[in-house]
């Protein structure tokens, strides 16, 4: 459906996209993931024909965006990062304008607009002036505009940025619904969103694709460590004695103690399942194991690992995340804090890059 080959985009001497390749099949929901400034928006802007590439090609549904722009653009519904809304228009007149702009025949326009408004549930706001709408509604009007003309491909650039949590959930549901009938590409720097909505993830960093697979495969393929959460009845000293004797345990931390049962978090140097071995080792030492659970490296960590670069703050974030994971399980406030910090620094970075 979409074939991007050796895409390069230079802004002066700055290389925003460096030889990016990707293929999107019909019916897929693809998430473009990457830290801000990685080249996601630039790539989408090139795919949709808003800006042109320095070199490389983009073929949409068999039509090259450079040589057959009209046919290629007709196949795409695009929601840019900032929805392109005319603030002085009402929702209805704006959508009618978009329909006319996209060449929807005049007889079908009213029906088309009605369908789009129904899909994003804004029919009750049809006569409101767009500037008076809330951010979530504006975003929905943007999605409705992308839907008009019933294009087979939808490209959504950070569709949930800046929305409140309930709006985020709504937009995600909406995307899931749309995915039933459209090929969707969406970009995000929030992992949970992509892993929830998409069936295929492309991780972009510094203008190139660093990884590409389904969410499950990605998280399996890139973990060479595993984390085990255990609850053991006993005292710290005797548990330490057992763990110190195992060569694949790289580190462990003790957590809460409830009725003599201690929560222990282990980081293993292997991604093999060692649950049984751990169980029998503790059984031998007469320490009853109440719980063993193993988790792979989360997608979040895979993402951070892949996008880790020379920048010191990236390395820091990865560490934060690993630490956070070490404390996973008990809802420690601190771990959430560090996570949020990581996202905030990311945002600041973006505004610098984009300006």
């Amino acid at each position: 459906m979409i074939k991007v080959k050796d895409l390069v985009k230079n802004y002066g001497s700055f290389e925003a996209v460096k030889g990016l390749n990707m293929n999107v099949e019909k019916g897929q929901v693809v998430g473009l993931l990457g830290p801000n400034g990685a080249g996601k928006s630039t790539t989408m802007n090139i795919i949709t024909g808003y800006i042109s590439a320095t070199s490389g090609s983009v073929v949409i549904d068999g039509h090259d965006i450079m040589t057959e722009p009209m046919a290629a653009k007709k196949a795409i519904g695009y929601l840019p990062e900032i929805p392109p809304l005319y603030m002085d228009m009402t929702v209805l007149s704006y959508l009618k304008f978009v329909a006319e702009l996209k060449g929807v025949p005049s007889k079908e326009r009213a029906e088309e607009v009605k369908k789009a408004m129904k899909a994003v549930r804004i029919a009750d706001r049809a006569t409101r002036i767009i500037s008076k709408l809330s951010k979530g509604y504006k975003q929905r009007v943007g999605v409705a505009a992308a839907l008009i003309g019933n294009p087979p491909i939808l490209i959504l650039d950070e569709p949930t940025v800046g929305l409140d949590p309930s709006q985020v959930v709504e937009i995600r549901e909406l995307i899931k619904n749309l995915a039933k009938e459209h090929t969707v590409i969406l970009s995000s720097h929030i992992l949970s969103e992509v892993s929830e909505v998409c069936d295929h993830i492309i991780i972009i960093n510094n203008g190139t694709v660093v990884a590409e697979d389904t969410p499950e495969n990605l998280s399996n393929a890139y973990s060479n460590q595993s984390h085990v959460n255990m609850e053991i009845k006993g005292d710290e000293a005797s548990i330490s004695a057992v763990l110190d004797g195992m060569d694949y345990v790289s580190s462990y931390t003790f957590g809460e103690v409830v009725d003599d049962i201690i929560a222990v978090k282990l980081i293993l140097d292997t991604d093999e399942d060692k649950n049984d071995e751990l169980f029998f080792a503790f059984a031998e030492a007469k320490l009853p194991v109440h719980k063993v659970s193993r988790e792979n490296l989360s997608l979040e960590q895979v993402f951070l690992k892949l996008t880790e670069d020379e920048a010191a703050d990236h390395a820091e974030k990865a560490e934060d995340a690993v630490e956070e994971n070490a404390e996973n399980g008990d809802s420690d406030d601190e771990s959430y804090d560090s996570d949020e910090e990581a996202i905030i620094t990311d945002d600041e970075e973006e505004s610098e890059v984009e300006e």
Binding site: Y11, N45, T48, G49, Y50, I51, S52, P69, M70, A71, K73, K74, I76, Y78, P80, I82, P84, L85, Y86, M87, D88, M89, S93, F97, V98, E100, L101, K102, G103, A145
Partner: protein
């Protein structure tokens, strides 16, 4: 194209801009009408009132042209237009026709002045018609300049000020041209500077020496060829060149009641050149 046109008209009339623009014109023309026709009793509306009001174009035209593209870029709505299955040429034509229509509507309102005048005096209708036609064509040319300037910036104020200054400059060009030295060598020198400018432009946009060198050789060759074929064409060359841009001069023949085909062609080609530059300017943004 029709969609863009309708949306643009709607934009003008839902905001203050259209009314502000029309009111501005009515007030300006009204003041001169009062002075010439009512107080001093001239019946020659086209010859006296219209030419005097031309200077106000510099203030009024930017009001309707400043936002044309600057606003789209600022609000990012250009993303909608440029990713829609419609060519840049159509977008530009749709917008341009909307502004011209707004201007034409304004002229219809202004037409009430000679109608009122006709109740009290004999109005020379042919000169009124040609005068209004000239007024329309002059306005169209200046609107195309304003549109072009609007594509160069995201800032409406900058767009308005630059357009106003440029329109004034175009008005005073003929005075400027009179002071140019007329000898051929000055024209050749000026052309040389233009060629060097083009070479620099080529180099900065491609970062390759070859295209700029070729442009330079071709340019100098063309100047030399022109000199051998017809050396006299360089006499007063600079003044001729500059005079091509003095849009106001051509208007006076219209207000005198002359329907000059060459002037009509001149204005239309002027509009064509600036609309072409506008299209190129929008396309260029996408390549940067």
């Amino acid at each position: 194209m029709l969609a863009i046109f309708k949306r643009e008209m709607q934009g003008y009339f839902t905001s203050m801009i259209a009314y502000l623009f029309m009111a501005g014109f009515v007030v300006v023309v009204g003041i001169y009408f009062m002075y010439y026709c009512v107080i001093n009793g001239y019946a020659d509306f086209a010859g006296a009132v219209l030419p005097s009001t031309c200077i106000w174009f510099s203030l009024l035209i930017p009001i309707i042209t400043m936002r044309l593209w600057a606003e789209e870029r600022k609000q990012k709505t250009d993303q909608l237009l440029l990713t829609a299955p419609i060519s840049v040429t159509r977008i530009v034509l749709g917008k341009y026709l909307a502004v011209v229509t707004l201007f034409a509507i304004t002229l219809l309102v202004l037409f009430l002045f000679p109608v009122i005048l006709s109740f009290y005096a004999d109005v020379a209708w042919p000169s009124v018609f040609t005068g209004f036609l000239g007024y329309l064509l002059l306005g169209c040319s200046l609107i195309s300049i304003g549109f072009f300037i609007s594509t160069l910036t995201e800032n409406q104020i900058v767009s308005a000020v630059v357009s106003a200054v440029l329109v004034l400059m175009f008005f005073f060009l003929n005075n400027l041209a009179d002071s140019f030295p007329g000898r051929a060598r000055y024209s050749i020198m000026m052309l040389g500077v233009v060629v060097i400018g083009i070479m620099i432009l080529f180099y900065t946009s491609t970062h390759k020496y070859l295209p700029s060198a070729i442009a330079g050789v071709l340019g100098i060759g063309a100047i030399a060829c022109g000199y051998f074929i017809n050396p006299s064409m360089y006499e007063d060359g600079a003044a001729k060149f500059v005079n091509w841009f003095s849009v106001l001069d051509r208007f006076y023949s219209f207000s005198d009641g002359l329907l000059n085909v060459s002037s009509i062609v001149y204005y239309l080609s002027f509009v064509g050149v600036f609309l072409f530059l506008t299209i190129r300017s929008i396309e260029k943004k996408r390549w940067n």
